[in-house]
Symmetry: C2
Subunit: 251 residues, 2 copies
Amino acid sequence: MARTSLLDDNLSSQACADCPIRHRAVCARCEQHELDRLEAIKYYRSYEAGQTVIWSGDRMDFVASVVTGIATLTQTMEDGRRQMVGLLLPSDFVGRPGRLTAAYDVTATTDVVMCCFRKKPFEELMARTPSISQRLLEMTLDELDAAREWMLLLGRKTAREKIASLIAIIGRRDAALSLRSAGNDLTFDLPLTREAMADYLGLTLETVSRQISALRKDGVILLEGKRHVTIPDFDRLLEEAGDDSDGGLLA
Amino acid sequence: MARTSLLDDNLSSQACADCPIRHRAVCARCEQHELDRLEAIKYYRSYEAGQTVIWSGDRMDFVASVVTGIATLTQTMEDGRRQMVGLLLPSDFVGRPGRLTAAYDVTATTDVVMCCFRKKPFEELMARTPSISQRLLEMTLDELDAAREWMLLLGRKTAREKIASLIAIIGRRDAALSLRSAGNDLTFDLPLTREAMADYLGLTLETVSRQISALRKDGVILLEGKRHVTIPDFDRLLEEAGDDSDGGLLA
DNA sequence: CGAAATCCTTGATATAGATCAAACCGATGG
DNA sequence: CCATCGGTTTGATCTATATCAAGGATTTCG
């Protein structure tokens, strides 16, 4: 719960990290975003890995944007079964304008810094500034598409396909962030424990572990330690994932 | 593919059926919607039960709102595995501003009438009329919540819970449409074949059939014929569905 | 340094749901 | 009236994944 006040300069490596609006690439519209007004109502907050940002049902009087780190949205049934329903990377938006309480548990998977906005003034700003609604609409539509892809995975893919899909998704987002374009030999760290992956994929952690081992044995992925992955052939991975090969990065 | 031009009067039983913006209840904001301009660019189109409205990947130069009937959004893998990712009831919105091609197969499950808007002028109208973006954002956020609920179902619920959940969802939406409030003894028709339910739930049609039989045998639902359901005790059904009992109608 | 805690892997077994197969039911049409 | 067809039910069997169980690797902490 440590509250940290960061200088904006610390964040400048992240394009537009200081506004809650995500941009696909370089920010071409910043001038529209009335940063002055945003300045007045925003604050930064940091969370340690493993810390819960907010519990489902809790009062949530802010919206936020992830600046650094990775957070998850999960739903839990009374008997403890858990399903991840959102994976939040830097620049992703958290919270829903017009809702009083959190609908999901939000958890910091790694150390996380969030840029928060008190909800009331943010909503007033939204009402005055159409470009915010419009941008938020685009982002929400992207998330809806991702959710639907995820539904196909949950409903119809085998355990092996699920694992391959997740690794592809993480690899792709990672590649996008680090500007390494379609170059081969993608390498990155899995930011999730086996259990979190299981919650993402609707599997048990044992099955996750077994399938990762199987993909390694079959040469689809290379593993250094338990978390560091390199993909020798991304198309092969996509095949294993059962995906249409289009790539799907851009809507 | 028959193109039908309906008089608006035919649709008046549906609140705001003639605009693409869904309202939760009675339309309190119609005056904001610039119906005059919408008038100029809209047209109606009807589809027969079973007909495909549009195939994934096809060029889609309109957006639309379901006026009557039920349509589905499905994703298909190369080997034919299918997952439903959207169930469209009257007043639901179809299509994505800013996208050229359809991302999913859209199929009419019953006879369907849609109110269509050519995309280009609709987008121009959106740009000029903030309330449309704002309303669309609200609707999309609702859909995202529904998708996340659906993800929990797909990833973690048992077959019996999935069936109970689906029946509860349909019953609830049906009750909402027909103004029958929380009155007991909810009765309605399942608008989906067993196969479509299977595609919704990530099951096979045989499992769907078996679990429906089981729920009938256990008195959770009553069946008349193959489609007509009555729910003697909605809370019991929700219990079977593994849901938090809150109801969840309003965000 | 040793103990405890996480996280992960692997094995043995159980089971929910898939698959394969057959037959039923109600509607439609010749 | 019978044949056909789409949708459905039910049975027998198979299998992918869950569950139960044990142990290995790292890190954390006293």
